[in-house]
Every structure is written in structure tokens, then in C-alpha cells.
């Protein structure tokens, strides 16, 4: 098998092209399908949004696999070599025949810029996350081992409660919040945060933000906000299940929001833009209405399976089409 720098360039360009297709597909879904996602029960919605976040990368990988199939077949059975029908300047997605030359310099620079931008974004995000985790670690280490109900208690009057940590998430609560909550509210808070721990929401949120880079900006903003709200609503639902009182969960959210109003520590948090916009409003309304009936994502699963089967079935045609498009783009 020959995988030279030139042929690797062609495969990478194909992957980037497919990633762009995946981003366009996610934009189309955002335009026409987001209302349907909004109607899903929170846990199912959260799962659907995680899959949606990974969709462009998954689409790019599946398409690349599909267009690689003919090349793999030719490698195993040389008699089925399809490249012989091409002229010499055709871009070869092939392990047997080298492309006549590498990519056009402009295309190469575009690819380098694309990966450099992605790397820069990822590095900035990773450094920010590292700073935040360092802060939390220092807070926990200097808490003096004050633990209540499995939560680390911080000696500060500022009312705050967070779940943090990627691999072993833990709950951190301030003395200021503990002192202001009644036992029913504290039970809700504990149940909610333990649900975050069990679901490993910080890790999921990190992975989704990593994948979100592959979506267009409005889709990305919607995806991250909806994912965060879906996670909160899923934990609210678990807290309601444990306490057996949806109104108590709604009341606890309002209490903590009221306490937190004066707690931005020098930062002025903006008010939600309008009626129904705030996460608190959506969470409280969801708790006061009847629990959402589980809506199956079976239709989405069936459609995805059909798309996957069709892609693999037409692998040969897709391979030739991709080579033609790459020839037009690359040289």
C-alpha cells in the first residue's frame, strides 16, 4: 500500500470537503428540525443533541470510508482497479496509483489555515478549561475538608453550587447557599447535582463543545445553549422523581436564582433577553406542566440507517464523483 504525502493530501481534502457537507446538513437540520428536537423529553433531547453535535464529523468519516472502499477493493483484488479508466491528471483516491502532483498551493494553504484555526480554537478552549479546573481544585483543597452530604462546602457567604470535574465530577457548595436553603430546597439541590455527577455532564459538555466547532456559528450557539438547558431539565426531572414534588423543584430553582442575583462577584450578569428566554423560566415552566411524554427517536435512527446503507451501496459512484470534484478543486 502506498500512502504518500501527495495521496494523503487528497484524502485529507476529501475529509474536509465532507466535513463542510456535514456542516451544511446540520444547518439544514437546524432550519427545519430544531422545533422537533425541542419537543423531545429532556433526557432524549440531550442525547439527540450530543449525536447532532458529532454529526458533521460522523458524516465526514462515513463518507470518507465509503469513498475509500473502491480503493481498498482494488488493493485486495488488483483486477478490479478502477484507476485505469482515468486520465493521468485525475485526482486519485487510491492506494495503488500516485496522483500526478500534489494540491494547488492555494488549496494547501487553505487546508493549513483550516487546521491551524481549529488547533488555535481547541488550544484556547483547553487552556480556559484548565484555568477553571485549577481554580476549582484550589477551592476544594482549601475548603478544609468540610464535607456535607457528599458535597465539598466552601467557606464563603457567596451563594454558589457547582458540579465540576471531567472524570470524577464532584459537587461544591458554598456555606452562603447552605445557610439560606430550607431542608426541602437542599434535598432538591442535592438530587439535582448528584444527577449531574451520575450523568457526567461536565465531560459531555466538553466533548460537545469540541465537536461544536464543526457547525456554523448560529447552529453552534443554539446547540450549546439547548444542550445545557436539556442537561439541567434532565437533572430537574431526576430531582422531581426523587423528591416526588415537581413544584418543590421549581420553587428551589427560583429561590437559588433569587439568592444568586447579587452574587456575580463584580461581574454583571445580563438579564435574559425577553419573556421565555431565560433558562430558569424554561425549567420552571417544564416542571409546572405535565411531564413530557417520551417521544421516540426511532424515526431519526431509521433515517440515519437508510442514509448509511445508501452511502455504502453507492460507494463506487460516490468515489468517482468525489474524485471529479477534487480534481476540479485541487489542481
Amino acid at each position: 500500500m502506498k500512502l504518500t504525502f501527495e495521496s494523503a493530501q487528497i484524502f485529507i481534502l476529501a475529509w474536509v470537503l465532507f466535513l463542510a457537507l456535514g456542516s451544511i446538513a446540520s444547518g439544514v437540520f437546524y432550519r427545519f428540525g430544531r422545533a422537533r428536537v425541542g419537543r423531545l423529553e429532556p433526557r432524549v433531547r440531550h442525547r439527540a443533541l450530543v449525536l447532532f453535535a458529532a454529526a458533521p464529523v460522523a458524516i465526514a468519516c462515513v463518507l470518507l470510508l465509503a469513498v475509500t472502499i473502491p480503493a481498498l477493493i482494488a488493493f485486495i483484488e488488483p483486477g478490479l482497479d478502477h484507476c485505469l479508466t482515468h486520465d493521468d491528471v485525475h485526482a486519485h483516491l487510491c492506494f495503488q496509483h500516485l496522483p500526478p502532483h500534489g494540491l494547488h498551493l492555494g488549496v494547501m494553504l487553505g487546508l493549513v489555515a483550516f487546521f491551524a484555526y481549529g488547533g488555535l480554537r481547541a488550544t484556547t478552549a483547553a487552556l480556559g478549561a484548565r484555568r477553571a479546573l485549577g481554580l476549582i481544585r484550589t477551592l476544594i483543597r482549601t475548603s478544609g475538608g468540610h464535607i456535607s452530604g457528599g458535597m465539598t462546602v466552601l467557606a464563603t457567604p457567596a451563594p454558589i453550587c457547582v458540579t465540576t470535574g471531567l472524570w470524577r465530577p464532584q459537587v461544591v457548595i458554598s456555606r452562603g447557599l447552605l445557610d439560606h436553603l430550607d431542608p426541602a430546597e437542599l434535598q432538591v439541590l442535592l438530587a439535582h447535582e448528584r444527577a449531574h455527577v451520575r450523568r457526567r455532564d461536565p465531560l459531555v459538555a466538553t466533548l460537545v463543545r469540541a465537536f461544536a466547532f464543526t457547525h456554523f456559528a448560529p447552529v453552534r450557539a443554539w446547540l450549546i445553549r439547548e444542550l445545557d438547558i436539556a442537561a439541567e431539565q434532565a437533572c430537574d426531572a431526576e430531582a422531581a422523581h426523587i423528591t416526588g414534588d415537581r413544584c418543590a423543584v421549581a420553587a428551589a430553582i427560583i429561590s437559588v436564582e433569587r439568592l444568586s442575583d447579587g452574587a456575580p462577584h463584580g461581574y454583571i450578569a445580563p438579564y435574559a433577553l425577553g419573556f421565555g428566554d431565560s433558562a430558569v423560566e424554561r425549567r420552571v415552566h417544564a416542571l409546572l406542566s405535565e411531564p413530557t411524554v417520551f417521544e421516540s427517536t426511532r424515526l431519526m435512527a431509521i433515517m440515519s440507517t437508510i442514509a448509511l446503507a445508501a452511502t455504502l451501496l453507492f460507494a463506487d459512484e460516490l468515489h468517482h464523483l468525489t474524485e471529479t470534484v477534487l480534481s476540479l478543486m485541487a489542481h
Binding site: G128, T138, P264, Y271
Partner: protein
């Protein structure tokens, strides 16, 4: 509450233990700190002395010279230190850097507003009345 300049230093495990010892009213002389937290960890007096010096350099400790020894004391209370760190954390949340690894019970970067909260409280009370009526 004393306002601390930011950013506050991040502390390692031993530095945190030393601060915890001093915040809990422990003796600030290096030998006493070593007896309290160093021996159990199997570390030398030198390590404790350099940790105290490091915390002094980070502006978290003050010291007085008594005879030949330095007696250390915390410059800030645990509450002040935590308050300053939480301020930084909220700052990181506001810039979107921390929200991926930190999940808060209610958002610290967006407020519902008093009018909206009052309306939501009324809705909760109304729902409770409805449920009570249905239960009768």
C-alpha cells in the same frame, strides 16, 4: 469583606494543607507546621519551610521575625480567599471558558430578573393550589 486583587494563586496539595493549618488557628512557626502536617506526610522541615516561603512570596502569608525564627500568619481569611477565587471563576464563566467543565445549579451568566421571578413564584403557587384542589 476585604477585596483581593486578582488573579489569586492556585495552590498545590501541600500549600493548601499549610493554609488550612494556619486558617484553623495552628501555630505559624515552621517546626510547629512540620509537626502538624509534615511528619504525617513523611516530608522534611526544609520542605515545609520552602512551602511557607512560597506562600509568603504569593502574598498569602505575612511573617514576623521572633528571635531567629519566622512566625507566619495568613494575610487573608479563608472566606476572602474563596470569595476572590469564586469571582475569578464567574469571570471565566462569563467569557465562556469555564462553562464546559463547570455546571451551576442556576446560571451565573444570565439572570432572570425580579419581575420574572415574582411571576414564576405566582405560577408555582397557582400550580400548588390546582394540585391541592385535585387531591380533594
Amino acid at each position: 469583606m476585604k477585596s483581593l486583587s486578582t488573579p489569586q494563586p492556585r495552590l498545590g496539595e501541600l500549600e493548601s494543607a499549610v493554609m488550612d493549618h494556619l486558617w484553623s488557628g495552628g501555630d505559624g512557626e515552621a517546626k510547629a507546621v512540620h509537626r502538624a502536617i509534615g511528619k504525617a506526610r513523611g516530608i522534611t522541615l526544609n520542605t515545609i519551610q520552602s512551602t511557607l516561603k512560597r506562600l509568603f512570596d504569593k502574598d498569602l502569608l505575612a511573617r514576623d521575625k521572633v528571635s531567629h525564627a519566622h512566625i507566619y500568619r495568613a494575610r487573608v481569611t479563608r472566606e476572602e480567599f474563596h470569595y476572590a477565587l469564586l469571582g475569578e471563576l464567574v469571570g471565566e464563566l462569563m467569557t465562556g471558558h469555564a462553562e464546559m467543565v463547570v455546571s451551576t445549579f442556576v446560571s451565573l451568566t444570565e439572570r432572570a430578573g425580579p419581575d420574572q421571578l415574582a411571576r414564576l413564584e405566582a405560577l408555582v403557587a397557582e400550580r400548588r393550589r390546582q394540585l391541592a384542589d385535585e387531591a380533594k
